[in-house]
């Protein structure tokens, strides 16, 4: 087929939208459960097919296709348009989104098989809405549509994290996610408005032309870039707005795979990639982005070492990898960050779905209670290990090249300290991921540290975990094979990066990863190093890690001391000053009325007297006039 890419992406965009509208309006269809699921999967498959076709049809010379409709008029021309923009970034992103969405939806059929049909239908309705919103964000040709889809994506995240809304912790987590990203979204909105005030347009193509004609460091552009970055920092869980992502694991695991690994959190990275031409005009903001990114990567890696919940490990890992992408963008090489976005999306989704299979089998998230699952769940073990190797950056697997490119980019951008931070983070990444692998799939849990809440490991209790049903394992294998295919493909055929890397970079990157794996093996498999002593050797860092670096507490403190105090003051003013004024007015009126009513005695003579007084007054007044 040689259809135009913009028409194809439009089909990809509208298919899940149609499914959403159908499921939202036709309630009996939604409540039927499995039928709704199949319709939703069909929509996602349509989107995937259209996306792949669009990618194929994206030409060599003309690689930007736009199709927009005028939307908000203004007296000269159009204020805003709505439509699709198909270029290499958006089309590749589209393929990732639709692929992961389809696989996750298929997987959910198995994972959520014991949900009541009405809830299942609701879940798939939200999934379709999310797919539509994310694709709308990716395909947005201007800031306005991007922002609208941005907010919609946030809404879907809230709906899906809080899918089991009767569980209090899930509801709280959903609200926390919404509020934290909202804090960033305010910045994004301000940035968009300021930018419009400076340039008069929302459109990306026009802004790119405008940016090309500007010098770096023009007045106000740093503020705008910072505001836009705030929005990205919220969605992409940069420090200090990362606090929502670990808690968001309250949602079903497929949701975590889709939204909090591969797609929604990458919206921030995508935004910065899209608007890189703006950020190039504000080099100080770029430096900030890189530093915060590297710091987030390191901090999250440290925190991941202290988690026992398998999903929380993966959550912190996602935060860490997002930091990597931001660092690359901050160093000035957005393509490196974008490449890692694509590869990370694949293998992180794989890891989450694999973790979901484990959880589904043993009914617990706690890795200290697992062990020897490789024997009982061989397929899951294999795919999980493939994902872990990709994340650790081992050659022949997907993450290797993209991670190395990020390290090279940061170095080439002249940011040495961030580079060191990223390298340490790479070491820790390999370490904590293989800790999970060894504790979950190998060894015996009863040979490890026993905490006060230790219970019998699951496999020893007579419970027999087994591999997940086909509807869950097939997506796993697809992702695993894709991971390996990308890894192998990149070994032999990849685009040259835009910078020069030193020769020692590749061996250093590989070595750091292997060192992490080795340390994990020694500590958790062969038990030659006591994990407890290793942890206590870290000293205060260990306490800090277990407390999440007290960031949540800091937010709570600010909330209590500033926000609550302020709102209570305002409430007091409202009750006593504002209401007080009104109440005083009404009290005076009532009092005045009470006094005045004594004039009405009911006696005729008093009224006659009143008339007489009036006549006297009239006579005096008229006498004066004369």
């Amino acid at each position: 087929m040689s259809a135009r890419p913009d028409s194809l992406v439009l089909v990809a965009l509208l298919a899940p939208a149609a499914v959403f509208v159908l499921l939202a309006v036709v309630a009996p269809l939604r409540r039927s459960g499995r039928l709704a699921a199949l319709i939703s999967i069909a929509g996602a498959l349509t989107a995937l097919g259209a996306a792949i076709l669009a990618w194929r049809n994206l030409g060599e010379d003309i690689d930007v296709f736009r199709h927009v409709w005028a939307w908000l008029p203004q007296h000269e021309g159009v204020l805003a348009t709505v439509g699709v923009l198909a270029d290499t970034y958006s089309v590749k992103m589209l393929v990732l989104v639709s692929l992961v969405a389809t696989l996750v939806q298929v997987y959910s059929l198995g994972y959520l098989s014991d949900e009541p049909p009405a809830a299942l239908g609701r879940y798939y309705m939200y999934q379709s809405l999310f797919a539509f919103s994310m694709m709308g964000l990716v395909l947005a040709p201007n800031f306005l549509q991007l922002f609208i889809c941005w907010e919609l994506v946030g809404l879907c995240s809230y709906l899906l994290i809080g899918f089991w809304y009767r569980k209090a912790s899930a509801a709280r987590a959903a609200v926390k996610a919404f509020w934290t990203t909202k804090a960033g979204d305010v910045g994004l909105l301000i940035g968009i408005v300021l930018l419009w005030r400076m340039t008069g347009t929302f459109d990306f193509a026009e802004l790119e032309v405008w940016a090309g004609s500007q010098q770096a460091g023009i007045a106000g552009i740093s503020l705008i870039a910072f505001c836009l970055y705030l929005g990205a920092a919220g969605k992409s869980a940069q420090f200090p707005l990362h606090i929502w992502l670990p808690d968001a694991m309250e949602g079903p695991t497929p949701v975590s795979a889709l939204i909090h690994a591969a797609t929604m959190v990458t919206a921030g990275v995508y935004l910065l990639t899209r608007t890189a031409f703006l950020f190039e005009l504000a080099p100080d903001v770029m430096t900030l982005v890189a530093w915060v990114g590297a710091g987030t990567a390191l901090m999250a890696a440290i925190l991941a070492c202290a988690q026992d919940d398998i999903k929380r490990v993966l959550a912190y890992s996602t935060v860490s990898q997002l930091g990597y992408k931001m660092a690359a963008i901050g160093a000035g090489f957005a393509n490196a960050g974008f490449l890692h976005l694509l590869t990370h999306g694949v293998f992180k989704a794989l890891l989450f779905l694999g973790a979901g299979a484990v959880i589904h089998a043993v009914h617990t998230n706690d890795i200290t209670r697992m062990g020897r699952l490789a024997k009982s769940m061989p397929q899951t073990a294999v795919v999980f290990i493939i994902g872990t190797l990709s994340l650790a950056g081992v050659p022949l697997f997907a993450g290797f090249l993209s991670k190395e490119e990020i390290l090279g980019a940061v170095l080439a951008g002249g940011l040495t300290v961030p580079f060191v931070m990223l390298a340490v983070a790479a070491f820790l990444t390999a370490f904590y991921m293989f800790r999970v692998v060894f504790l979950t799939f190998f060894g015996t849990a009863d040979a490890g540290p026993k905490g006060p809440a230790y219970e019998e490991p699951v496999h020893a209790r007579g419970h027999h975990p087994h591999d997940a049903p086909a509807v869950m394992t097939i997506p796993l294998w697809i992702l695993a094979l894709l991971s390996m295919a990308i890894g192998i493909l990149f070994m032999f055929h990849h685009e040259e990066p835009q910078f020069e890397s030193p020769v020692w970079l590749t061996p250093a990157a590989v070595g750091v990863g292997l060192a992490g794996i080795g340390l994990a093996w020694l500590t958790f498999q062969r038990r030659s190093i006591d994990g407890d002593r290793l942890a206590s050797a870290m000293g205060p860092l260990r306490t800090a890690a277990h407390a999440g670096f007290w960031i949540d507490d800091a937010f709570l403190f600010v909330y209590r001391s500033v926000l609550l105090v302020f709102s209570r003051t305002i409430g007091w003013i409202d009750r006593y000053v504002v209401d007080g004024i009104v109440n005083v007015m009404s009290a005076w009126t009532v009092m005045g009325g009470g006094r005045l009513r004594r004039m009405q005695t009911g006696r005729v003579q008093d009224y006659v007297f009143g008339v007489a007084v009036g006549v006297v007054a009239l006579l005096i007044w008229l006498g004066g006039v004369k």
Binding site: R597, Q600, G602, V604, Q605, V608, A612
Partner: protein, 99 residues
């Protein structure tokens, strides 16, 4: 006697009647005060009519007297009705329209 004399006379009678209306406690007493005031007005009318050489004032006085008679009759009927239903003669006690 000039016009002013008659007018002064009428004014005096009028204010005496006003005093009666304001101070008397019995309703019939109030009606008597009203009678005095109306009389004073009639004197005024006739005096003006005479001093301008026209009959218009006197004709108005005829009408005024007739209407006053009707008014007195109705007023007293109301007073009787009031006494029958409420058993009181004192104007102070008729205050059921108190606000």
């Amino acid at each position: 006697m000039g016009l002013h004399a008659y007018l002064f006379l009428a004014a005096v009678v009028f204010s005496i009647g006003l005093f009666g209306v304001i101070t008397r406690r019995n309703t019939i007493g109030i009606l008597l005060g009203v009678e005095l005031m109306l009389n004073a007005v009639n004197i005024n009318l006739v005096a003006f009519s005479r001093f301008h050489g026209q009959t218009a004032g006197m004709i108005l006085t005829v009408f005024a007297i007739a209407i006053t008679v009707a008014e007195v009759a109705l007023g007293l009927a109301l007073v009787i009705l009031l006494f029958r239903t409420r058993r009181t003669a004192i104007a102070d006690q008729i205050d059921w329209l108190k606000g």
